[in-house]
Symmetry: C2
Subunit: 332 residues, 2 copies
């Protein structure tokens, strides 16, 4: 098969479309022919050498994709009915999405959301599983809660705003520009905070505190996030764009009876991923099908242009999802 | 009525048995005549001015007690049957236990565990509600988990060891002396760590990591606790004997997908307390009744000697619970 090969570990842009060995499936895996793959910021980190694949996983990039089942190999859907060869699927991957074939653990096969194209489906998997698992399975958003998303104008944020609103929450966001805040507002955010001009902790505290915070900044926001928590509030850190080590005021956390979790999707084991995928299909897919949550693709580009797409993302030229179009093997 | 009055705020030992106004009950409260009260380390902190009672609460000391219902005022047990005047009860309090009467929110009345004396019952409430709520309602111990208790030889630790063993967990403890570790072993602890001589994080990591940690040290142990966590582990901080502010390595926490909570029982609202009390009666009381968990009283002293008892506790002269005997009002 063909795949994007990272030919020079020292150069993040050495991403070449080359022949390589197709994956072999084992018990518990299906073989999927991939037609589209989503681009994630994590892919750019991996290309820079910062985000190694889990042990035993291919080092081909790509955390989400869509395509057609080639060998179902006994896989069944969460509802117990069988996956068949030829079925269209979206897939959550630990790596290997930038390729013509992937070996996919049975629990990570997902139906295409009703009314979605394969390109749309390929680019919603990672964000949907990430946000659902963090705000509903790690923390738990209840109706009437205040939920704070940092980076409301990013991929996680835009999805998160819509999901939290669908769950009956009030939503606050931070972003760095009036344009991004306007986007957040369009998707339903109630409280808009420009982090470059305003003190988010003060604003959130005045609103009674956030019951759930989804944080992508880490150390730099640690203390202000705790100040922002409501009683019994839960913050979940999924990114460390603002550093890794910060001072924790345990007394302040205790005065809120607060909880801090830090999570990642990629390194979870297959059972854990299957649990998350199942919950996402059950709870999020209907909200995609009925349009409660909308999903914006910025551009679809040939996967042979992966290097340029990475650069565009890193240069801030992208406002929605970038999707890679993968040539069919028989058409090569 | 009589109660222990803290006559001089600047002197922790100015604890005098004096007349004061009896509490008035409101809707949702029962009046209880108290016969025994448990002594907690928190009482000594409050006497030192460090642990103020929640707003609206009496400033009389005492977080747990037992006695007889004087005015049930419509209170019903968790099973729906009514509390009657004359019933013996144990009570969880936000304060006011060092007195002849207390106004007790209905949800904080507990039956006397089968086979328990009133003195035993008075001194098990705080530790039982604290440990159950933290290791089962905030974190969640599953069969086969490894649970680490710091201060295994203390009141929380000895109770925690027995409860966690009853839940099917393996138990590790830290303590500062061979004697205390022998006590921990007697109560069922599997892994005994002398924190003065050994590196607990190293030992716990070699055992596969702790799924749940109940911490009473705070800042000083923050990083070593995170190093000790198993994947998806949860540490709950309930004490800060080792300081309030510590450096949090978020990257390390994320690599464990770890969770840190910090909680306290006293400042929870009545609904929250009622929820905890109900769960404790349902889950812990049977383990007291059948002897799975044993409870050791160090001494029962007249409440008029409260000041001396505080001193004994602070001087480390106490190895189990101190219980105050409260003179009946009609016998004065
Ligand atoms: N742990 C996991 O499983 C997992 C999974 C997926 C994603 N993630 C992480 O989640 C983060 C967000 O992902 P994404 O796909 O949404 O990325 P994205 O689309 O690039 O969005 C990131 C957003 O962060 C905002 N931002 C930057 N600095 C900020 C600050 N100081 N305060 C508030 N916002 C700030 C940026 O907005 P402005 O331009 O307005 O500053 C940008 O919109 C990334 O760090 C990613 O690695 C983690
Ligand atoms: N947040 C809440 O709701 C709540 C409720 C109840 C209790 N608490 C807190 O929980 C803590 C324990 O309560 P307790 O009643 O069990 O007190 P305790 O009976 O005095 O026990 C404390 C134990 O801590 C041990 N210890 C001291 N330094 C240590 C260290 N560096 N490493 C490991 N162990 C150490 C002592 O043992 P050695 O002599 O062997 O050092 C002692 O046995 C207290 O801080 C209390 O305030 C909190």
């Amino acid at each position: 098969m063909h795949a994007i090969i990272h030919t020079d570990a020292s150069s993040p842009s050495s991403l070449e479309w080359q022949t390589t060995e197709a994956p072999c499936i084992t018990n518990g895996e299906a073989l999927v022919e991939l037609h589209y793959a989503g681009l994630n910021r994590a892919d750019t980190l991996q290309a820079q050498g910062h985000y190694p694949p889990p042990q035993g996983c291919t080092d081909i990039l790509g955390l989400e994709a869509s395509g057609v089942v080639k060998e179902a190999n006994g896989a069944t859907k969460p509802d117990g009915s069988p996956w068949n060869n030829g079925d269209e699927v979206a897939v959550l991957l630990s790596g290997g999405g930038y390729a013509q074939y992937a070996a996919v653990p049975h629990g990570q096969l997902m139906p295409i959301p009703e009314g979605y194209s394969l390109a749309q489906a390929a680019s919603i998997v990672e964000v949907a599983c990430t946000v659902w698992s963090n705000i509903m399975m790690t923390a738990r958003v209840n109706e009437g809660d205040l939920v704070l998303f940092h980076g409301g104008g990013g991929g996680i944020g835009i999805f998160g705003i819509q999901l939290a609103k669908a769950l009956g929450a009030r939503v606050a966001v931070t972003a760095g520009s009036a344009e991004k805040l306007a986007t957040c507002k369009k998707y339903g955010a109630d409280i808009l905070i420009n982090y470059k001009e305003q003190d988010f902790a003060k604003i959130i505290a005045a609103e009674g505190g956030a019951d759930v915070i989804l944080d992508i900044i880490g150390a730099k926001y640690l203390d202000a996030n705790i100040s922002s928590l409501a009683k019994d509030g839960h913050m979940v850190i999924i990114g460390m764009q603002g550093g890794v080590k910060g001072e924790l005021n345990i007394g302040k956390l205790l005065s809120k009876r607060g909880t801090i979790s830090a999570t990642g999707l990629r390194y979870r084991d297959v059972d854990d991923k299957a649990r998350i995928v199942k919950a996402t299909i059950e709870n999020v897919w209907p909200l995609l099908a009925d349009g409660t949550i909308t999903h914006h693709i910025d551009r679809i580009v040939p996967i042979t242009d992966a290097a340029a797409a990475h650069e565009a993302l890193l240069n801030g030229e992208v406002t929605g999802k970038v999707v890679f179009d993968i040539p069919r093997p028989h058409a090569e």
